[in-house]
């Protein structure tokens, strides 16, 4: 986990809060590389939730012609 972490600041993270590359908005990363911390919990349910959330956002942005 963690090798393309989410964060608020493009200077210290790779992805934004919607799992989009800060610098390339039409590329989304929703596997374990997005994790900013690991927690003790097995992570896959969180990958599923983040993926569904990012897909919903991406399609919404496409409809608004933002992507």
């Amino acid at each position: 986990m963690g090798t393309a972490r989410m964060g608020k600041d493009p200077k210290s993270s790779v992805l934004n809060r919607w799992n989009q590359l800060h610098e390339v908005p039409n590329v989304f990363v929703t596997d374990g590389s997005c994790m900013a911390s690991s927690s003790w919990q097995n992570p896959s349910l969180t990958y599923m939730a983040l993926t569904a959330r990012a897909c919903n956002y991406a399609v919404d942005q496409m409809k608004k012609q933002n992507l």
Partner: protein, 486 residues
Amino acid sequence: MNLNLKAADQNTYDAIVIGTGISGGWAAKELCEKGLKTLVLERGRMVKHLEDYPTMNLKPWEIKYGDRLTPREIKEDYPVQSQTEYAVLQSTKHFFVKDSEHPYNQVKPFTWTRGYHVGGRSLTWARWSFRLSDIDLEANAREGIGVDWPLRYHDLEPWYDYVESYIGVSGRKDGLKQLPDGKFLPPWEMNCIEQHLEQKIAENYSDRILTLGRTSNITQSVGGRSKCMARNLCRRGCPYGAYFSSNAVTLPVAEATGNMTLRPHSIVHSIIYDKDKKKATGVRIVDAESNETIEYYAKIIFCCASTLGTTSILMNSVSDAFPNGLGNSSGELGHNLMDHHFRIGANGIYDGFADQYYKGRRPTGVIVPRFQNIDKKTTRKDYLRGFSNYGGGSREGFWRSGEEAAFAFGEDFKQSLVTPGPWNFNFNAFGECLPNHDNKVYLDHENTDKWGQPILSIDMKFRENELAMRPEMMSSSAEMLEGCRF
């Protein structure tokens, strides 16, 4: 020119998804259901639900070598995969990579367990399904570690509800702030030794409980999939589709929309970036069978090739605009690698309940959820964050319940069916790992695999905080068992 345009047109989709494992399957389902023509690229072979589960109905005596890998197989093909010895068996080895075909550099020892085929590791995972809490999502900010998560539990909650309801997760509502409850199917049952331990822990401690695992083995039928029959042979593929895998759950739904094009044997090499549009335009793949390089185009790209798979692709996607990997101006791509640390705990034999047994093989275990650093009272001096103790009780020689079911074989095997031994209980603690910039991966361009792709170097170790947590991971496991007269 015309021909080129036509070829580009044929290779153009609304969306591309890279990988078909747990995350890629979900991306495929969601995007196809929302009407996007979606190309799903998978580096490995096709695995169709049911059709491609060759061992799912084999009886123990039909499987060679007591289901274990032979020393020769371990040495030649599975030196790394075999380290997960309870999962990688004669009956499941076709769902794990041969290390001999997929090399990587261990700058420090690192067990990288992989499955390269349609479904990825969704076929072979252990199915434990837990939510994160705000205690987890706020920790980096609170302690000044790494970077703050840009979201909180309330952002994730509706999506946890959505995916749990869809896949079916069985569990008990425990009302713990460190482990939010979800939309659960009825929990599995504890056997007598686990009930005994649960009761004793409740008597002996005020800071912790023993509860049932939360697992994607469904205890009631969900979405046309019938309920789990408690065979605990899940990693061979389930004849009932009774646990979550991409193959049984998300990919068939994506397929049914008519919007999915699934292309196995497609190794994504890199993402193509257009610096004028400031966007990615598509991906470049190597066909694993023909070695041909092909480009595909789309408006959006979802990277779901697993942590190190996706990171390799992004690092390999270099251009004038991004000489150090796509979207990597921060310099953090490939850094802060984290893994859970485990393989520490305790085992105890219990003298009693000789007349009690259990039916079937429950495909999950029990757990003492994290009880450290939750609030003032539970604050530890020596380390941040925490761990949980996973466990399971069984009768020796009798079918083991819990995750790590092992088979005896030959004469032992027959005897074990008629003469179950004493009850025992096993705890294995599972701990958090802090992000650290120096735990990193990078591409080794000097050494390539058989498709000419640079191989990955992994340079990661557990550090101070993880090591400081481990003594209590062991002592707490032993103490809880001793307190129950094990």
